[in-house]
Subunit: 224 residues, 2 copies
DNA sequence: CTCCCGACTAAACGAACGTTTAGCATGCTG
DNA sequence: CAGCATGCTAAACGTTCGTTTAGTCGGGAG
């Protein structure tokens, strides 16, 4: 059964093709990445790519599955060591390899079902942390629905992941590395500490939000 | 000079083509959107698209420019009415039309130069707000560099924009509408208020971040 | 040894792509 | 009126795409 011909760097040819695709798809998009380019980068013929994955879309699905699986594995490890809860769930993603992180960010930006699943899983985790944290006294009382609060927190955290290129430029450190996380996280903590924004501006903002026109139909703007 | 042939809905044919492209590019990606599809949706021939914009890439540039211009216009208006400062800069983007917002989110997800410019502009704005706010007492004392703090805040805020599809699902309200902003913003404010996270978990998280392995070369993970 | 299955390639397929060319219709200008 | 620039289309260009087909090679099973 283990009858693979060429094995370079202890990776199956199939896995090598998939890893190349995981690197390329976020870079040039799905349609912008050609089967021929993937094959060339993996050192195989274009036909072999389709032999292993059925079609280009099949390769896409395989990439999604693999990244999701790696993400879950990362989560499990982070939960065992305790860093998952402490780092607010998503920050622990730095343990993933950079290509997988870029792929994750790319997928989340698309409206795919995989993206919805990943986002939903994170929200589930943070919701649990919120509810359990309140029982443990780690989370103070709050208004509203825990799941909606969790969704906002997840979106905030993932913002750093999706915009890692820009944060990398702002910080001068690769934001997908541990150094980047160590550089940026204190600022996130400072924002959440309540020490940054004064009560006055918070009240002003709250009022401004409440006074928004509920429906944008009267003063709707055209794309013109 | 104003010699345009067909004018439907008071928009130039050229503007109509560009608006169609602004809708399509985020949906299917740049490579995934064909000139023929844009032309068909705009009710013109494919050749006319290239006649007006030179090439597909030229159309892309025109879309970028137009969205950037609309964003700046939105900013200027929000500054005049005061909502820009109060809403933390980016939240005011809801005033943009939905296609433009989707395009903005799509562009920010790419590593394009336009994205870097937009992100940088937002960071500039928030940096100024941070510095001026401290003088006015609206921002309390904080540690670190104001520009880096601003970058983290912008990334957090834009996270909601980039992940609007998922937030929309979580809230049951279109997150690119005023209703969506009104629904989600209180949760963001609650997170920033310092009332959500207890001091203990904040300290735990801070410690966990500091104890990360500085360089990930020893335990580096492969994409395998 | 023979047979066979799976990894793998070379070559070709039709379709669809971005772009070009030639030309038509319209309206402004002199 | 003639002349010309402009908005616009139809048709075709060459290229490149995803995919298919036919076939080679090599190890494992009988």
């Amino acid at each position: 059964m283990l009858n693979m011909r060429s094995v370079a760097g202890d990776l199956t040819t199939q896995a090598r093709i998939r890893d190349v695709a995981i690197e390329r798809f976020p870079k040039d998009g799905f349609a912008g990445t050609t089967v021929r380019a993937i094959a060339a980068a993996a050192g195989v013929s274009p036909a072999l790519v389709l032999h292993h994955f059925g079609s280009k879309e099949g390769l896409h699905r395989a990439c999604d599955e693999h990244v999701v699986q790696m993400t879950m594995e990362m989560k499990r490890e982070a939960m065992e060591t305790g860093t998952y809860r402490e780092s607010g769930a998503i920050a622990a993603t730095y343990k993933l390899a950079e290509p997988a992180l870029r792929y994750l960010a790319w997928t989340l930006g698309t409206g795919s079902e995989t993206a919805a699943r990943i986002f939903g899983d994170f929200v589930d985790d943070v919701t649990v942390q919120l509810v359990e944290g309140q029982e443990n006294g780690l989370i103070n009382e709050y208004h509203g629905d825990p799941r909606q609060q969790a969704a906002v927190l997840v979106a905030m955290q993932l913002g750093g992941l999706l915009l890692h290129d820009h944060l990398t430029q702002a910080f001068g450190v690769d934001m997908l590395s541990a150094e980047g996380l160590m550089a940026a996280a204190p600022y996130a903590l400072q924002a959440f500490s309540g020490n940054l924004f004064d009560k006055e501006i918070m009240a002003q903002t709250k009022q401004a939000i409440e006074q928004l026109q509920p429906t944008g139909d009267t003063e709707q703007r055209a794309t013109r």
